[in-house]
Subunit: 147 residues, 6 copies
Amino acid sequence: MREDALLYNMGNRRVVVFRKEHFNAAHRLNNPRWSLAENKKIFGLCNNEHYHGHNYELIVQVTGEIDPDTGYLIDMKILSDLIKDEVLNKFDHKNLNLDVAAFENLNPTAENIAIVIYDLLRNKLKASLELKIRLYETERNFVEYPA
Amino acid sequence: MREDALLYNMGNRRVVVFRKEHFNAAHRLNNPRWSLAENKKIFGLCNNEHYHGHNYELIVQVTGEIDPDTGYLIDMKILSDLIKDEVLNKFDHKNLNLDVAAFENLNPTAENIAIVIYDLLRNKLKASLELKIRLYETERNFVEYPA
Amino acid sequence: MREDALLYNMGNRRVVVFRKEHFNAAHRLNNPRWSLAENKKIFGLCNNEHYHGHNYELIVQVTGEIDPDTGYLIDMKILSDLIKDEVLNKFDHKNLNLDVAAFENLNPTAENIAIVIYDLLRNKLKASLELKIRLYETERNFVEYPA
Amino acid sequence: MREDALLYNMGNRRVVVFRKEHFNAAHRLNNPRWSLAENKKIFGLCNNEHYHGHNYELIVQVTGEIDPDTGYLIDMKILSDLIKDEVLNKFDHKNLNLDVAAFENLNPTAENIAIVIYDLLRNKLKASLELKIRLYETERNFVEYPA
Amino acid sequence: MREDALLYNMGNRRVVVFRKEHFNAAHRLNNPRWSLAENKKIFGLCNNEHYHGHNYELIVQVTGEIDPDTGYLIDMKILSDLIKDEVLNKFDHKNLNLDVAAFENLNPTAENIAIVIYDLLRNKLKASLELKIRLYETERNFVEYPA
Amino acid sequence: MREDALLYNMGNRRVVVFRKEHFNAAHRLNNPRWSLAENKKIFGLCNNEHYHGHNYELIVQVTGEIDPDTGYLIDMKILSDLIKDEVLNKFDHKNLNLDVAAFENLNPTAENIAIVIYDLLRNKLKASLELKIRLYETERNFVEYPA
């Protein structure tokens, strides 16, 4: 940018960037402290002991100030790689109940999955960046964390 | 969940859940206190006295704390049934102007439809849950209430 | 194109082009030779005497040989204008049963609407071009003509 | 329709109707006659012994002549109910390998699932109707049967 | 509306309306104060000196109080025309770096484009209306301003 | 598969598989044998000498017989890698007119791009497999080759 670019100072503008990724996983909703009958009543078909599955769509939302040298809030390639390392490599083509440590003792509802993803990414991002997770379990059921 | 599940306490986490539904309806935009000419000028084709119609896409957004026993904010089946009872059964395959009581004296713009849906659902939900309505009249025109 | 462009002769290649448009309309499914009870039984909610409505998505598909001078099968602007003149101006923001001549004696099912649109466009296109109509009444119900 | 409706004879027009449904299921790709190493090599992550899953989008396509009394090729409610009975009730929220008889000895690839769905629906439809199945395993991978 | 319409007072309800538009443009990400090697390292393929391009999807979000006479926050036709005049006519089918004054000295990242669009529209809207811009560069990369 | 799997012989079933990919590119429509005025008249904004751009969505469709050992027509990973090598690496984040050899003397309309992609992939696929290309220039303008 030439000198006069300074006339258009973007440096303290706060923006939000969104990166959409997806993973395919099996899961089963179950509370081991409940009877089978109670689990069937509360979770219905989602309690199927052989699991079922979803194409999860994940939108990672990051908020902060633009870097005036790049015009980026954060390089989308870096954000995408971070999501791959911290989330997709652990969740994609996996059984969430059996293959993902976080759900060993946690029911993999969309709400809980979103919170786990938030926690996985939160401490990898600079503290100055805000983070929000949106997770689509189906096109018609989705969640966001934090509120 | 086993005892050690308590280590991952989800109980006070606030999340948002979204449920997408749809209904097909006819409507006409008209202000009966105005002349026909004025209505045509303001509402254009939307003032057609024989009505026109839309596939409305409705997203109901509920915010609150996760129930640690289920991992749900609210059971999506219960939320979906509530929307069916309070909204879809009254609006789907209907003429909003002629068949829906709320629009007897209210112009069925997307903005007003969203507010009516909000009011229909608000007092059926626990006071601790926040509610927001997004309504797509077309893919390119949509509204949200409350702001 | 320079002389050597002739090496890549596109002139006799047959391609298909698709143009997507949309219109919003009210309609009612009804067979006037049947009793009200029979109409309710066959057409259900779609028989509502006050009409209901849809955002119809229309895809017009034209097949033929590329024009080697333009690299177009048909100029999409010309195709789009033709659809506007012959279809959208007659159907958009209209009541199909009351405002569109073709449905005076024809039940406006998606199948029949697609055929009417085909007939409206067919004799406006050169005979050397094949025509097919796809019409979405909703995201989940759609039709194509001819088979 | 009044007598003069006969002027617009739709009776021998062949049309195609499409009905979109979906189901969520777990599956694992595996050939039991191969070694684990060979299965890993061919099927990669899809061979995960704990299963993974998908939101399958299913489009059932039926071709035939319009019924001039209804203006329908086939009542979409009847088609939708048929798909529910024959496919969704067996596949939705299931583990295809463990819960669906057809895949006891058949690898549940998208191709094979589409063929099984075709076979389930084919003998429930009148012979005069043509049938085609499109199945989306993800937004980017989908199949059609028959070719 | 009849007198008793006053019973349903919409006048002080705050709503949000969204209008979706799109434009197709070429661009190149580049910081002229950096070396070519540094630009390649930071911007990768997006630094291609011959430009590349996108179908940008633009969602303009306006917040304020409903006008009780129309039931509109703002007439979508007026909002759409404003976006056409201020944004699409300048950006659509253009090279952002070469054809759009705002990017003469400003890197046309999605973040910066969103801010420029915000500034173009902000002073054309009444001060009582809040404005937010969402811009999709691809289906998977999008931004919002202000945060 | 066990011996009795032979009862469900899939071997001679012909199926179609589809793989969706995308690339972002700049282009300009122009016929160098015409005057600037004639080019402006025919190609309008698409003739902008500084180029404009698109997010092209590409669907590669392959037809043939299922391999009974895998249940695949073709491994989607292999098909995706082939598209990457032959098409995406040459087209993505490029200026089609300046960076892609095939368009040195060929106008990069959607029709011509689809044919070029077909030719690039055709001789890399076994002769027993049929190939078809669908290319979306925008959501509303798309083409298919061969017809």
